[in-house]
């Protein structure tokens, strides 16, 4: 079956549309950042409860518990009186739509634009796949397009679920930047049809890796935000910066950012693990061994180990917080290194089954 050039053009059009819409969404997020309704109080309330949780129980992964810091004997935060006399019930979660509306016009616009952009983005990926009659992540350009789509969709879920409006400008901004770079630097026209003899395990493996990379992309952006906020907080504590920086005030608190990043990686880590296993199954079918320390395999392993180290660091005294995020970013860097450098330049197994 030949490449459907028409659909290829449709895919490109969708992608350009997505890029434009995303850019507008980033502007809207930035507008909310600058002009939107102050929401610090609401965030603080939820944060105190979570800080108490953090104080009493170890948030964390397999392993030892940290020494629990002393529970602050502060008076209980007053819950809003919801029901008649003496009832004090935790608020049931406000439904998402209402929360978006209550967050202000900028957020409404930004979320709407992001959703529209993500739809166009997904349409671009799907039509590309239809055009080339195979999974649309067969070369670097397609891979980047697909992973940014995963990142955008994943982040939208996070955004709406956790009401993390102020993070939108960073993550969507990173998506726009990456997509833009891909379009300008590594664009390849629809082509490269699938060799007839490829095993379906290869498709499963690459799909899983694409998903995981998109999720880790979001975690990496959140990690950068965390590090900036953490740096600012430390400078304030050391008296080297004035408190009350507008940007930081509008961002979620350190603990919340940390938790969000952690949960993102918790989502992505099993997907990456599955991708590694699927890759081993494919390698065994194609080359007769399920693990041969091929450079690509080795770096996928290094990435896995680094994210595992992040999960362990979260449960180790002295390694939580900043250091853990360094580890997480190192893991993402190894992932990118694997894709950009190892797969392109360092010779590995010459695959017979139709890759080369």
């Amino acid at each position: 079956m030949p490449v459907n050039v028409g659909l290829g053009h449709v895919s490109n059009a969708f992608l350009i549309a997505a890029l434009v819409i995303y850019s507008l969404a980033v502007v809207a997020f930035a507008g909310d950042f600058a002009y939107g309704r102050p929401r610090r109080a609401a965030m603080a309330r939820g944060q105190q409860a979570q800080d108490r949780a953090a104080a009493l129980a170890t948030v964390g992964a397999p392993g030892q518990a940290d020494q629990a810091p002393a529970v602050p004997d502060a008076p209980a935060v007053p819950e809003p009186a919801d029901a008649p006399a003496a009832d004090s019930m935790p608020e049931l979660e406000v439904p998402a739509l209402r929360a978006i509306r209550e967050a202000g016009r900028w957020v409404l616009a930004a979320v709407a634009l992001s959703l529209a952009g993500a739809t166009a983005h997904a349409a671009a990926v799907v039509t590309r796949g239809l055009a080339v009659h195979r999974a649309p992540w067969g070369n670097m350009y397609e891979f980047v397009t697909a992973l940014t789509c995963v990142a955008a969709v994943f982040f939208l879920v996070v955004l709406i679920r956790y009401r993390a409006w102020t993070l939108g400008v960073f993550v969507m901004g990173a998506v726009v930047l990456t997509l833009g770079l891909a379009e300008t630097l590594i664009y390849t026209a629809a082509g490269e049809l699938v060799p007839a003899l490829q095993s379906y395990w290869l498709d499963i493996h690459v799909t899983a890796m694409t998903l995981a990379t998109g999720i880790f992309f979001v975690a990496a952006v959140l990690g950068f935000v965390y590090l900036r906020v953490d740096r600012y907080t430390r400078r304030v504590a050391a008296g080297r910066a004035a408190p009350g920086n507008g940007i930081v005030r509008r961002l979620p608190g350190i603990e919340q950012l940390d938790r969000l990043t952690y949960r993102t990686i918790v989502f992505g880590f099993p997907v990456w693990t599955f991708g590694v296993i699927a890759g081993a199954i494919w390698a065994d079918q194609a080359w007769g061994r399920y693990w041969g320390w091929d450079p690509v395999e080795t770096w996928a392993f290094v990435t896995w180990v680094l994210y595992a180290a992040f999960l362990h660091a979260r449960a180790t005294a002295g390694w939580r917080g900043r250091r853990a995020h360094y580890i997480q970013l190192l893991g993402f860097a190894s992932l990118i290194f694997n894709i950009l450098v190892v797969q392109t330049f360092i010779a590995g197994l010459h695959s017979y089954a139709g890759v080369g």
């Binding site: 129980a57 948030v59 080359w287 320390w293 002295g318 139709g354």
Partner: protein, 556 residues
């Protein structure tokens, strides 16, 4: 600052580390006469601490990096030789450090073995504890539920005991394990005064720890599986020309990489004959030249003298024979030559495997060595072009099928270097002791002959047959590794998705009715959501109380 010093007062987990037993053991080696067992215990505590696990994880990642940058002896022995040639001073030092065989080096093994010892030392005791605590009830409800991270309060008209019972039923319905105020189970806090008021404790999510332990134990299982394969498995390669048979014995294999405990006698005794190999390629369109099908028809016997079976080998579909797996890895062309020497004797008559080069479309290179030609040894370097087209004076192959096969040869005579005893590659000709006979490469069509100058003989290109390259592997750890990998994934998902949480309900009589306090605590909330769960649970508890007397289910 070590983890050991910190008293591990995790209020939640009875499965505390072996390091923090209630016995007041010495916490620091700086405390004077310590004794060997004390030192060993300190070392063990350090090894099984989270911090050391973290360090070992880093070292594992770091140690893998040179294994991906430098050529490795197992994957790429010719690359290692090239590295020696291009870095003659550096290479021996790297070899001393084991950097050309990183993943088999003792220091790498030390890292992952220490890591797994650390892991085992942590996980195995916790497994015992988990098994022991399978029936443990949740702890007594604390007095001040409002201090818990999540708390709620409501008023109901039901008397306290009934309110608590209603709550208990709701919680039981949601799958919580309960502990009621009247249960006679003593707890370690012992001296607590008798509780006034009714309460119930509920706990859920015990599977989380099981999932966590499953994950780590499964990783241990993967390591053992890999070790099994490394010890008892083997990998071998063989190039098989169509029409020939090979027996699975070490001398018949082109490459043989046995595991540490494998000897040549552990191979076989199967034989495989390549009866026919067909390859078809796409003839037109944008995918022209891409392979569309490969089919290797083979017959094989699993035992000597056993019945011959037929089968097919295909890409990505190995054949299981006698405990080993045979994979079709590659294929190529073996042009057939007949060489007569100066004395008119036929000194060579065989298909000669040529190896496809990087230029594509199976343009292949090879060598014919005729060491027993008289009076001088003869050698030929050749290029086989399956579908030959003359492009500006050079022959190029434009299609991978042999639609127009030609061979281009350069002839040499002299000393091949085969008689000195040092093995040479069969695909390379060392012409240093030889004289070139033909000024230009001679092109032969099938059936044509090249007459060598000086009456040295002739070489005839009589045709071609295909060859396949087979990989024969045996890995007893393969299936266990897969099972352990899937188990690890399952354990991971369990430990991330399940929250370990406790909910407490206390009711006391008050002026406006019974005040019911609900408190909740989540130990690990990796995927989030306890806040929402608690809120909806509290609402459900209140609703159940407000419905009035909770109807008793039948049979209670």
């Amino acid at each position: 600052m070590t983890d050991v010093r910190a008293p591990q007062t995790d209020p939640f987990d009875p499965a505390a580390e072996p390091g923090d037993s209630p016995r007041p053991g010495p916490a620091s080696p700086a405390g004077g006469a310590f004794g060997l067992s004390g030192w060993l215990r300190w070392a063990w505590r350090q090894l099984t601490s989270m911090r050391i696990a973290l360090v070992l994880l880093f070292l594992l990642a770091l140690g893998s990096v040179p294994g991906s940058m430098l050529p490795q002896q197992g994957n790429n022995p010719s690359g290692v030789r090239q590295y020696y040639a291009s870095h003659p001073a550096l290479a021996p030092w790297l070899n001393h450090l084991g950097l050309f065989n990183v993943f088999g080096a003792p220091w790498f093994a030390a890292i992952y073995l220490l890591l797994f010892a650390s892991l085992a030392g942590c996980v195995v005791p916790r497994t015992f504890r988990l098994a022991g605590s399978a029936r443990t009830l949740p702890p007594r409800a604390p007095r001040h539920l409002a201090r818990l991270p999540r708390s709620a309060e409501y008023v109901t008209t039901l008397p306290p005991a009934e309110a608590v019972e209603t709550a208990a039923r709701v919680l039981a319905g949601r799958g919580f394990r309960l502990r009621r105020a009247d249960s006679a189970v003593p707890d370690s806090a012992g001296t607590e005064p008798a509780d006034a008021g009714a309460w119930v404790s509920a706990e859920k999510g015990y599977l989380r720890e099981a999932g966590n332990l499953l994950f780590h134990l499964a990783l241990l299982g993967v390591l053992v599986s890999v070790a099994l394969g490394g010890l008892f498995g083997y990998k071998a390669d063989r190039l098989l020309v169509q029409g020939t048979t090979f027996a699975d014995t070490a001398s018949a294999l082109d490459e043989f990489h046995p595991g540490r405990l494998v000897t040549a006698g552990d191979l076989g005794p199967f034989t495989i004959t390549l009866n026919r190999f067909d390859a078809s390629y796409i003839a037109s369109g944008p995918q022209r030249g891409q392979p569309s099908a490969f089919d290797a028809q083979i017959s094989y016997t699993e035992q000597r003298g056993g019945p011959a079976r037929t089968g097919h080998l295909a890409v990505n579909r190995p054949l299981s024979v006698d405990g080993a797996k045979v994979y079709l890895i590659g294929h190529g062309y073996a042009p057939r030559f007949t060489v007569t020497d100066a004395r008119g004797q036929v000194v060579y008559d065989a298909p000669t495997p040529f190896i496809a080069g990087p230029s594509g479309n199976f343009l292949s290179e090879g060598v014919v060595k005729v060491p027993d030609a008289q009076p001088d040894q003869l050698g030929f370097t050749g290029v086989f072009v399956p579908t030959a087209v003359d492009v500006g004076g050079t022959l190029e192959s434009v299609f991978p099928a042999a639609d127009n096969p030609v061979v281009s040869l350069i002839a040499y005579a002299g000393d091949l270097g085969t008689d000195s005893g040092v093995s040479q590659s069969v695909y390379q000709l060392d012409t240093s002791g030889m004289q070139r006979l033909t000024a230009r490469p001679q092109v032969l069509q099938p059936g044509q002959s090249l007459k060598l100058p000086g009456g040295r003989g002739t070489i005839t290109f009589t045709g071609y047959v295909p060859w396949v390259s087979l990989a024969i592997t045996h890995d007893p750890g393969q299936l266990p590794a897969l099972i352990c990998g899937i188990a690890a994934l399952g354990g991971l998902l369990l430990s991330f998705m399940i929250r370990r949480r406790r909910v407490f309900v206390r009711a006391r009589a008050g002026e406006n009715g019974t005040t019911v306090e609900v408190g909740g605590l989540a130990r690990t909330d990796a995927s989030g959501g306890f806040e929402a769960e608690f809120a909806s649970l509290a609402a459900e508890l209140r609703a159940a109380c407000q419905q009035g007397r909770h109807p008793l289910p039948e049979g209670e």
